[in-house]
């Protein structure tokens, strides 16, 4: 019974022949899908996709710009830093030189002052010596005159001074002393 039903059904049913109503319904369904997707939904998503692409590309561009700026800033800082180091080295060097010059100058100044003091001392001593010599000479002259007058019995004081005998004698003495001093040295 079952088999006859299938056979009977199969006779007027060819699965390879499309039936018009189904064909039409299928096409209508497709065109509804196509219409909505093609006219509205896909253009709207395409717009958003393009927008997203733009944003991503824009974001990347911005990021690149920021990176370039950061790089430039870094270069600048590095340059400044190296310049500052250079400057510091220069200043250190300069102050070292200046210090050295100052020390040299001070030393020279000290030397000069010492020499001045020494020279002043020498002059003083010379002056004192001259004064002492002059005084001594006078004293020695008068003492010798007094001694001679006592021995001779008359005053030779004035005439001796006038004749310069005493001075000559003393000069001779001094010359001898100088020669002796030079020999001892």
């Amino acid at each position: 019974m079952l088999l006859t039903h299938i056979a009977a059904a199969s006779e007027d049913f060819n699965p390879l022949i499309p039936k018009t109503p189904e064909l039409i319904i299928g096409l209508i369904c497709f065109f509804v899908v196509f219409g909505l997707l093609g006219k509205k939904l896909l253009p709207s998503i395409e717009k958003v996709l393009a927008e997203r692409r733009d944003q991503i590309e824009g974001g990347m561009e911005r990021a690149e710009a920021a990176q370039a700026e950061a790089q430039a800033l870094l270069e600048q800082y590095r340059a400044e830093l190296s310049e500052a180091r250079h400057e510091a080295a220069r200043i250190t060097e300069h102050s070292r030189e200046q210090g050295a010059a100052l020390i040299v100058e001070m030393r020279e100044e000290g030397q000069r002052q010492r020499e001045a003091i020494v020279a002043a001392g020498h002059a003083q001593i010379e002056a004192d010596k001259k004064q002492a010599t002059a005084a001594l000479r006078q004293d020695v002259g008068s003492l010798a005159s007094q001694l001679a007058s006592r021995i001779v019995g008359e005053s030779l004081e004035d005439s001796a001074r006038q004749s310069g005998v005493i001075d000559r004698f003393l000069d001779d003495l001094e010359a001898k002393a100088a020669v002796a001093q030079g020999a001892s040295k």
Binding site: I6, E22, G26, L27, G38, K47
Partner: protein, 272 residues
């Protein structure tokens, strides 16, 4: 016996292996014949028609929810939609046709998802019938592809150029042309739309028949005997086939639009 009657017959569950006078109710063409749910002006409205509408509706609703208010930062559904859209757009249309294919993206995208969902109806509970196993549905779409193919060919190359594009392959020695030109002509103009429709139809038809066969067998073989073992084997095969069919459903939709794209690409090809 129609598919609905068979289902009723099975639902009654009266017939099992080893029962006296109970042959195997093998499924056949009857599985693909449906009684009208209702009739308008002498035209019966049957289950595949309903399912094709449901499929169209599902595609529309999905893309409506996903794409109607698109955001630059996509939600989950929009993301899924974008992946599907991008897949068809890039790896089918643009890959096959190239930059000129941009214009045909909406048509191919609609076609892919419509066909795929119609195929998937095969494994959806209560639907359980691939709409494309009825030839009218793939035939309609193949017809559309054919019209597009022909229109583009003749619009681009003119009548003579179009004919040449269709049946004059390049780089072939003259004497082979005697054989090749008729073959190309026949192949491109008549065989292509036919195979396009039949390929989708036959795959879905056979797949559905297999699933039905093993489903019925699972029930028929079930009895408190060794039959229980047969039944469970049959059931396991049904599950395996269902998984396999899921793959085939996708593949057939993919092949359908892939071929449609390659026909369009052929039509747009520069004359050689």
């Amino acid at each position: 016996m129609s598919a609905d009657q068979l289902t009723q017959h099975l639902a009654s569950g009266s017939c099992h292996l080893f029962d006296a006078g109970c042959g195997f109710p093998a499924p056949g063409l009857n599985e693909f014949q449906f009684n009208p749910i209702f009739t308008v002006a002498g035209v019966g409205f049957n289950k595949p028609m309903l399912l094709s509408m449901v499929a169209a509706l599902l595609v529309i609703v999905f893309f409506w929810v996903a794409f109607a208010k698109p955001k630059v930062l996509p939600g989950k559904l929009q993301l899924v939609g974008e992946i599907g859209y991008d897949f068809v757009k890039r790896s089918i249309v643009l890959d096959t046709i190239g930059k000129k294919g941009e214009k045909y993206v909406p048509m191919i995208v609609s076609m892919f998802f419509f066909v795929w969902i119609m195929n998937i109806m095969s494994v959806i509970p209560f639907a359980q019938f691939p709409v494309t196993a009825v030839i009218a549905y793939p035939a309609g779409l193949a017809g559309l592809v054919w019209i597009t193919y022909m229109t583009l060919t003749f619009k681009k190359h003119g009548f003579v150029g179009g004919l040449k594009n269709l049946c004059w392959p390049s780089g072939i020695p003259g004497w082979v042309m005697f054989i090749l030109v008729p073959i190309e002509f026949f192949s491109n103009i008549f065989v292509r739309p036919f195979t396009l429709a039949v390929r989708a139809f036959a795959n879905m038809f056979a797949g559905h028949l297999l699933i039905v066969m093993f489903s019925i067998a699972s029930w028929y073989l079930l009895s408190p005997s060794i039959g229980a073992l047969y039944a469970s084997t049959s059931f396991a095969v049904t599950l395996g086939l269902t998984a396999f069919e899921l793959l085939v459903q996708f593949l057939q939709a993919y092949i359908f639009v892939m071929l449609a794209s390659s026909y369009i690409a052929g039509a747009l090809e520069e004359a050689h």
